[in-house]
Every structure is written in structure tokens, then in C-alpha cells.
Symmetry: C2
């Protein structure tokens, strides 16, 4: 018997589509409704088998849903959670997949009326590819999902949210929204900004000579520009703090090179290598 | 019948070992002698089938060799080319695989006595892995090798050098040493320095949360620190120029974020994406 009678997914791109595929492949939900703003995306998600029904109307899409996942760009999430909370099943859990959490969690209560709860999530999956056509039922297998409950939220609801992500094959990590945002600024958003600047600063003539190293280094800069503008703007303060730290370290590298201080340059490169080696292949 | 009776490879790491494997797999050389400073590396190269004989002595290793490839770190190349020129076969071609060219080419004549010629090469292959144990007979297939002949060098020798790289499956591009060094500063060395600084600036606690994006972005920072110190120092002026350009563009990104100038931030991200997309997957 499926664990959920009805799950609604608002936004059926890479993440939303993959959640739908994972739920259906694992027979976790009887009904998976995709809510979107464009009929074409909804059709693509339906054809991919990610959803069992689709609608352009959020209110009717989440009706009777016990579980709602908002997978839209960060700028619209707060409003959509509020609307979903009005129309979903009593006792439902609403979560999101936004890559920043502090603004979203601060703007929303953890408890709505009718025992509806909101707890933020951030699945650390995806990449530069987007859209339901790149979705996969196994996108979350072995990947981490950070959950960011608000103080005073119901532990039972958190347990249910964790169970949701575990059932898709993910591991979960609990963090405060602020700690989450500092972490993703450091490992995702600031790196994005830096390599986007690197790619933009490299002439197309030189780029024509580039090979695997440059390809790997700048891969994330291929992400959708408007989506990343939103993410960067939404996590501005943490990104600027990470950027300060990067610029300070980069200035040390520059100085050691300018001063022909080979000992220092080597030490800095060794620190970079040590930190890189800690990520694994 | 093999094209060359004897090829000598000085330095049998990833590049030297791969040249040996490629020559032997394609039956291009009757004898491939590996010259090195450490008996263990030479044994590893011999066991891998990259060379038919080994020696710790450069002079005897290059004796009678019609083709000599110096695959050692950039700081020792000039001296080794000079010594090889004294002892190799008359009419031989000496090339190298160093990733900077201006200093090396400037320090050496293109013609030595006994019709021995030196022409610089830079195979754009390899990566963060090093050592003969990672060598591959197909490392150069479809990869580019930049050749940097000096003005006044013999066209016949250049033709022979080009034929050498083509026979290993590579394509060649002819550039001036200065244009080469500016290009590799832009697409290889400055990116290395930047992502080494990024990795060094990211706390190990945050790194423990990192996933594929950060892995790809910082992959090249896993390269050997001492080797990269040499490469960066050797191409210092071009690297500092590329770094200036990067810092100017990064400052625009920072400013657009600080000023909440979403239009400008989006435009900058779009330029980054356009340049990244030009590299291919």
C-alpha cells in the first residue's frame, strides 16, 4: 500500500520531476499531481511518468494532498506555500526545494491552521542541467537533503519529512536556516559566482583552446542565468561574506606570486589541494 | 617498419609514460628509452610497457636517439635540452612537454650543432592525476598539442615534430611562445590559482557538505602543489595579467550583488554562461 494517497508537486522541473519519478517508481504515492505555470512543462512531466495528473491551478492541485513539495524558483516559494496551506489536506506537510532557506523560513510560520506544517528542505542534487527531461527516479539516491526546521515546530512533522526524503533514497541533515545558507553560500553560490566571473573574463579565442580542466572548473557556470541571479540575490549577505574570505585568500596567492615567494605560494597551493582532496573524486 | 629507431623520453610520469605507451602501441619506435632521476619511476614505466629500456643517465639515454622528448617539470627543461643536444644522434629533434614556453624557447637556440633542432611543444592533455601509473596509450587521441617554433627554425624539423604528435593521435596548433603562454595563463594557470584559492578559503566543515558541483569546480586544485608552484612562477607575468582581468570582472559581479542591480547581475551571469557553453560538455 502506498505511503501517501496524494502528493502534490508544484514546479515539475528537474527536482520536481525527479521527486515524481522517484515516488512513482517506488510506489510511494497513489496519486502524484503536478502543478505548473506552463502546459508544456506539465505535459512533459506527465509523458515522462513523473505525475499522474496535472493542473495549472495551485489551489485545486494541492486539494486533499497530504504532502506538498514546492520546487519552484526561490522568489515565489513563500507565496506558494501560503496558498498551498489554505487548500491542502488537514494535517498535511508542506516543504520546498529552494536552495536558500533563511528568508523563506523566516517569512513563514511552521504551523498553519488545520494542523498544516511547513518545514524547509534543500535537496543537494541537480546540477547545471534543468527541466523535467533531465529528471531521474534515482536523482536523490545517496544524495543529501538538508532540512531546516524552525524552533518550536512539531517533531512528528519533522520525522515525517525526514521519512519522505529517506524513502526517495536520500540522507537528511538537520541544520538551522542560517547555518544552511552560510554553507551553501560557501560550497555552491560563491563558487558559482567566481567561475561565472572566470568564464566571463576568459576570451572566446582562448576558450577555443580549453580542455577538460577548464570544462570541469567552469561547468556550474552553465546553469540558468536567471535562476542563479535569484539564488545569489536571495542569499546575498552570506555570499558576500564568503566572497570576502575568497578575496582575502586570493590576495595572498597573488602576493606570493608577485613577490616570488615560492615557499608561501607552495604552502597556499598545498592548503588548496588538502581542502580539495577532502571532497573526494 | 617503425618510423623511429630510437626515441628517448626524459621524465616518465603521466605525459612521458603516455608518449612511450602510445609509441609502442602504435609500433612507431623500435626502441623507447626512459630517462629518469628515480629508479622506482623508471621501473614503473618499464613495467607499464611504456619504455623498452631505462637509465638514470641522460647522456647515455639519449645517445643515438633521433627524437628526444623532455617531460620533466619546467624548471629543469632548458638545462636538459642543452645536455640532450650534446649527446643525441646528429640531425635529431628535441622537444619538450612543458606547460609554459616563452622562457624555455627564449633560453634555447632552435638549432644546435650537428643539425640538432629544438622546438617547444605543449600537449594539452593530462589533468590532476600524475605518475606513470595513470599513463595511457590514448592520452593524446583527439587532444591538442601546441607547438611553438622559434622564428628562423627549419620548417622541415617543424614538419617532423608535427608528424610525431599526429602519429600519437593528437592535433597540433602552431603559436608563438608568447601567445601560447597568454593562452595557458587564461585557460589553465589562472583558473588553477583561482580554484586553489577557493578551496583554501572554504572551511573543511563546509566542504564536508559539498557535492558534484564543488567537486568539478575545484578538481584541478588537486594537482601537485610543487609542480603548480613552478608552472605559476614560470608564467608569472601572464598569470598576473589574467588575474587582473578576472578580478575586474569579479568586482562587477560583486558590485551588482551589493547594489541589488539584478539586471546587471543577470547580464554578467549570461556572459559567463555564454562563454562556458562555448567550451562544450
Amino acid at each position: 500500500m502506498p505511503r501517501w494517497k496524494k502528493v502534490a508537486i508544484v514546479g515539475v522541473g528537474l527536482i520536481g520531476g525527479s521527486i515524481g519519478l522517484a515516488l512513482r517508481k517506488r510506489k510511494l504515492a497513489k496519486e502524484v499531481v503536478g502543478v505548473g505555470r506552463r502546459a508544456a512543462s506539465l505535459r512533459a512531466a506527465e509523458q515522462a511518468g513523473a505525475v499522474t495528473a496535472t493542473t495549472l491551478d495551485l489551489a485545486s492541485g494541492v486539494q486533499n494532498a497530504e504532502f506538498v513539495v514546492i520546487c519552484t524558483p526561490v522568489s515565489g516559494i513563500v507565496e506558494q506555500v501560503r496558498e498551498a496551506a489554505l487548500h491542502c489536506a488537514a494535517g498535511a506537510i508542506i516543504t520546498d526545494a529552494g536552495s536558500t532557506k533563511e528568508h523563506i523560513v523566516a517569512a513563514l510560520p511552521s504551523k498553519f491552521s488545520r494542523d498544516v506544517a511547513f518545514i524547509g528542505s534543500h535537496p543537494m542534487a541537480g546540477g547545471e542541467k534543468s527541466g523535467p527531461e533531465n529528471a531521474s527516479a534515482d536523482l536523490f539516491v545517496g544524495r543529501r537533503v538538508i532540512v531546516t526546521p524552525k524552533r518550536g515546530g512539531a517533531p512528528k512533522k519533522l520525522k515525517e519529512l525526514v521519512a519522505f526524503w529517506l524513502s526517495l533514497g536520500a540522507e537528511t541533515i538537520k541544520m538551522s536556516p542560517a547555518a544552511h545558507d552560510a554553507a551553501v553560500a560557501a560550497i555552491s553560490q560563491t563558487p558559482h559566482l567566481i567561475v561565472a566571473a572566470l568564464a566571463a573574463a576568459t576570451s572566446l579565442q582562448h576558450i577555443s583552446l580549453a580542455s577538460t580542466g577548464f570544462q570541469d572548473t567552469t561547468r556550474i557556470a552553465a546553469g540558468d542565468a536567471d535562476l542563479w541571479r535569484q539564488i545569489l540575490a536571495d542569499n546575498r549577505d552570506h555570499v558576500l561574506k564568503s566572497l570576502d574570505k575568497f578575496e582575502t585568500v586570493l590576495a595572498s596567492f597573488r602576493q606570493s606570486l608577485e613577490n616570488d615567494d615560492h615557499q608561501k605560494l607552495k604552502r597556499l597551493l598545498e592548503t588548496g589541494k588538502k581542502h580539495r582532496d577532502a571532497v573526494g573524486d
